[in-house]
């Protein structure tokens, strides 16, 4: 079971950080902007970061409780 949490957590953390923290112009220059505006990228990043947090929190619960 913890394997699933690790997998989802790491993937979501990478995607979330990518869209949340990398500047919009950099993403656009590499054609990674998905035809979306800057604020849409940040909210997608936030959603993935929430997912990553929940996965790691679940992992913490499994290990400690």
């Amino acid at each position: 079971m913890p394997k699933k949490e690790w997998f989802i957590g790491i993937i979501a953390l990478i995607i979330g950080s990518f869209y949340h923290f990398i500047p919009y112009n950099t993403l656009r220059s590499y054609n990674l902007a998905l035809s979306l505006g800057h604020n849409a990228h940040v909210i997608i990043g936030s959603i993935f970061l929430i997912l990553a947090f929940v996965s790691f929190y679940r992992l913490y619960i499994y290990k400690n409780i």
């Binding site: 949340h20 923290f21 800057h38 604020n39 940040v42 909210i43 990043g45 936030s46 959603i47 970061l49 929430i50 997912l51 947090f53 929940v54 929190y57 679940r58 619960i61």
Partner: protein, 238 residues
Amino acid sequence: MKNFIKVFLFSLIVALSMNALDMFFHYATNTAVHISYVAVKLTIIFLSIFLISQFIGISKRDGIVGSIFGPFIFWLYYIYAYPTLDRNIFRLDEQFYYLFPHVAMMFIAYFSLYWFITKESLKRLYFLISSTLTLLALNLLYFMLKFKIRNIEDSNAANMIVFSDATKMFLISLIAVIIILIYKNKFKYLIAGLISAIASYFILNTVNLAGGLLHSIYIFIIVNLVFYTIKVLGVYNA
């Protein structure tokens, strides 16, 4: 409480209550608030609470974690996103210290509903807090959406509702909840909805907010829906 619909409703009520407190705080402190801001905050707070509740659970510990994490991720969103309002003209709540009142609001929103569901003592007080705040949020969102549908710019819409208007909406919500709490009748939801709809028709008659009959019908519907939802959540776990 692991049922998907119950968790969904729980998270929705918590997110709405938190946003009601937040909007009220914005009007009180004269920091700009408009639908683009509220929609993002509602989405992020709802998702944080919903995912934690669905995949981990609803408990005191999860409430504390969610109350800190939800506002934190929104603050993170806010400092990286372009503001929809001009920071030079409007006062926005993006400074780090605003995180603390948001955490406190989240705590009130989460635990008023959580304790309403799990505790036997002070149930009426928790019901009053949760339902009044949810009704206030839905009331304020109605007007914000109305401004958006009318294509009013966010910068203008941010000034169209003031603190006194928000206070009037709070009183209308409170009237409905007090009727529910003191009136012992099987039609009490309908009566509370009707009285608050009539009250909103006469109280909210300012130039910007004149909602008319449509708003009164909306109030009648949301009063019944919110009371029914909170009651169902409370009954299931009692």
